[in-house]
Structure formats: C-alpha cells, structure tokens
C-alpha cells in the first residue's frame, strides 16, 4: 500500500503545483500575467542571449505568442472575405465596449478634428472630416468579434483603407499602419500591412447608415472584420506607415498582436 501511495502522489502533486503557480500570480495592476520562473543566468550566458532576459513562464508565453503572430500571418488569406449578413441580422443595440464608461468616451468636434498621416507616405498632409467624407464609400455588414468571446453584427460604411493608402502614396511594402486615438489613456494599435490592404478593411464614417455615433468612435474608426475588436481602433487621430513595431494599448499588456479572425 505504501508503494501504491508513493505512485499516486506524483499525480496529486502535479495539480497542486499548477494551483500553487496560480496563487503566486501577481495582480492585474502590475500588468504581469504569470509568475516569473527561475533565472537561468548560466544558460543565458552559454546561449549568448541577453543576460537580463531570464527564463520564465512569462517569457516563454510571450515567445509562443510571437510564434502565433507568424502562424496567423501565414494562415491569413488576403482574398478571404469575412462573411457578410443581411440588414435584419444587425445586433440592436450594438454594444458599446471600452476600458472606460461611455460618459468618459472622447468627445470630438468634427469641425476641429484632423486625421494626421505620417511615415512612409508621399503625401503627409492632414485630412479634415469634410475632405474624407468626399472619398468613395462602401458599406459592409459583418460580425464584430470581441477578444472576450462575445460577438455582434454591425453595419459599417466608409472608405476602404487600401484605397486611401494608394491615394496618399503609402509604401505598401512597409510592415505596419500604426493608429493613434483620442482615448483618455492614448489608445493605439498596429495593423499589419497585409490586413491593412484587405478589401474589407475600412476607414469607417457611418454606423447603420448614420454618422458614426460617439459610442462607436466618432468621427472615424478603423473597421477590420478579419481582426478581433480591439484591433478596430475608434476615435482615430493619426496613422503612421512604418516598418517599426510600435506596440499597442492592449498588445503591450499581453493580447496577441496579430489577433486575426
């Protein structure tokens, strides 16, 4: 019986180990999601990696997430369109979702607002809303999928981003379009160029045929039906075409950067 018990213990210990690992996890405020592991200084020296880069579960998970970025970029089919729906399928009311309440959402004066275009583009001018409204627009009824798991179908109208990129003479061999927003904490998010050039990726000015309401990102949101919701920035104020990975509000906290659907 003693021998049997000693054989049973490894199975029990595994579960306790995982539970203990959960217990020592730091809180959200510190924005670290997994407990650090043992530092293998000698190993990092031997392998020539950054000595300060200690081996930990967090580092390992970040590496796998980067690997998953690559896998998703490979899977991404630039010609595969997100399914579209009938008007009757639109979710009403369409949910408002952000890391703040609706009353704290940016209030933007459409007459004062300008969309700044920077980086690897021929024309670095800033665009007024009036100028942008004159560009040809298309409508899409697609499913918005939140990283939290819920989904809702919405109707978005605006200018395909790839048409705008052509218009401003963007270097479409660059790696990212990096968007910055007017949200209180300075929301931003990088969009890989392949997705930026996808036919359904849109500079959105209308929701359900009405001027984009404040809740959904007035005056402009970037609608990307091939990405999770947090990669669809609202209250956009600038775009930089760049080869540098500049990070993003949620991406920096651990959400997978590609987050393709």
């Amino acid at each position: 019986m003693g021998r049997l018990r000693s054989l049973l213990i490894p199975g029990v210990d595994n579960k306790l180990l995982v539970r203990d690992a959960v217990k020592v996890m730091p809180d959200l405020a510190r924005r670290r999601f997994i407990a650090g592991g043992a530092s293998l200084g000698a190993l990092t020296l031997l392998t020539g990696c950054d000595v300060s880069d200690s081996f930990s579960a967090e580092e390992m998970l970040k590496k796998v997430s980067k690997f998953n970025d690559g896998v998703q970029a490979l899977i991404f089919n630039p010609n595969a369109l997100a399914p579209t729906f009938a008007e009757s399928a639109i979710t009403r009311p369409f949910p408002f979702n952000a890391y703040y309440d609706l009353e704290d959402a940016p209030t933007i004066d459409g007459k004062e607002w300008k969309f700044e275009v920077r980086g690897l583009v021929d024309s670095k001018k800033s665009w007024t809303l009036e100028e942008l409204y004159k560009l040809p627009q298309v409508k899409q009824i697609t499913r918005h999928i939140c990283v939290e798991g819920w989904s809702a179908i919405g109707s978005w109208t605006g200018t395909p981003l790839r048409d705008f990129l052509k218009l401003v003479g963007a270097d479409t061999r660059a790696r990212y379009c990096w968007f910055q927003c007017a949200d209180a904490e300075g929301y931003n998010s990088p969009l890989d160029m392949a997705t930026a050039l996808h036919p359904q990726t849109q500079m959105t000015f209308k929701f359900a045929d009405e001027i984009l309401p404040r809740a959904y990102g007035f005056p402009m949101k970037i609608r990307v039906p091939t990405k999770l919701g947090f990669k669809n920035p609202k209250y956009v104020i600038s775009m930089e075409v760049t080869n540098d990975y500049k990070g993003g509000y949620w991406e920096d906290q651990g959400y997978n950067s590609f987050s393709g659907s």
Binding site: M25, F76, V147
Partner: protein, 210 residues
C-alpha cells in the same frame, strides 16, 4: 546478489506483461498536462464573457490571472494538445491499438458491462482488455477531443476557417459546442481519476507500464 536476481526477474516480467506501452504512457501524461492547462485557462477566458449567467469559475481554479494571460496560456498549450493529440491518433491507428482495444463496441456488451459495473461484479483482473463501458468511454472521449479542437479552431479563425465555423452552425454556436465538449471532458476526468484511484494497479500501469 539477491537484488540482481530480483531485477532480472522484473526485466523478464516487464517484457512479457506490458499493459501500457511507453508511447501510450508518454502521450497520456503530456495530454494530461495539456488538458489541465487548456481547461484552467479556458475557464478564465470563459469568465470574460460567460455563456451562462449562473456560471463563473473561481479564481482558485483558473490559470492566467486575467483574460490576456489566460489567452496566452490557451494559445500556447493548444500546440502541446494538438501535436500530442495528432501523434496519439497516428500511432493509435498505425499500431492497430484503436482497433484492437476499442472495437467492437456492441450495445448489448455495453448494457451488460454497465449492469455488472453498477452491481460491483465487473472484473478488472486483466487490465490489458477494456470492458465495453471502457471501450465506449475511451472511444467517445477521443471523438470529443477531436470536436473540442475543431470547435476551438472555428472560434479562433471564424474568417480564415469560415467553412469550419459554418459547419458548427456559426461563431456563437461554436462557442457552446466548445463549452459542452469541455464539460464532457471534465465529467470524464472525474470518473476517470476516481476509477484510477479505486483500481490503483491501472494507475501504476499508466506510470510504469505494467
């Protein structure tokens, strides 16, 4: 000298009485780790947008601390689960283990073995042969494992794999399918672990092979 004789004797019996070959034990325990990671991180992900108002998972049984951390665990452990699962399916088919151990499954066999099990008359003398209830549950959980991976892929990639998502009845339905498969696996796990503890030699066979 006696210890030498004893180890020789063990070596002989080991070669003749292997119940669980090394590859089965290896994939079994890798799968156990992957499943626990997937379930615990999956519960944390579920909490971000619960499917049922009455059900939220306690922090003490979830992994990842918050949604972002849980997603990192889930999308890392999925590789372990999928690669290990594919190795298991490939070897199970190639070695003939599935056909030998899990087939045939007859309704009359399942009913009589279920009755015997519930009245305490089911024999576990020969661990190398599964009774009909075991056959049904083990074959069933393999199918559930396949469906949970496919439904998971359809939730992860509802545009790139939209044919798969459509097969599950759309994105929102696929989430329920994924959840129900998880519930089936957890139910299986409860019974599986309870019976392994009740018949400890079966657990020993899954650790040392005999």
């Amino acid at each position: 000298m006696s210890s030498l004789a004893a180890s020789e004797g063990r070596a002989v019996s080991a070669s003749t009485r292997v119940i669980q070959p090394a590859w089965v034990r290896t994939v079994h325990w890798i799968n156990a780790v992957a499943m626990i990671l997937m379930i615990m991180s999956g519960w944390q992900i579920y909490n971000a947008s619960p499917l049922f108002g009455f059900l939220k998972f306690s922090k003490t049984v979830t992994l990842g601390d918050w949604l972002g951390g849980a997603l990192l665990w889930h999308f890392a452990a999925m590789w372990l689960l999928m690669v290990n699962g594919l190795v298991y399916l490939a070897l199970g088919l190639a070695t003939g283990r599935f056909a030998r151990k899990l087939l045939p499954i007859t309704p009359s066999g399942v009913i009589s073995d279920a009755k015997a099990a519930l009245t305490g008359k089911l024999s576990h003398d020969d661990l190398s042969r599964y009774n009909y209830v075991q056959k049904l549950l083990y074959a069933g959980i393999i199918l559930v494992g396949i469906v949970i991976v496919l439904s998971g892929l359809s939730i992860w990639k509802p545009v790139q794999l939209q044919w798969l998502t459509a097969l599950f009845g759309g994105y929102d339905v696929a989430r329920y399918v994924h959840f129900v498969c998880m519930a089936a696996i957890v139910a299986f796990l409860v019974v599986h672990v309870a019976l392994a503890v009740l018949v400890p030699k079966s657990l020993r066979a899954m650790i040392i092979g005999r």
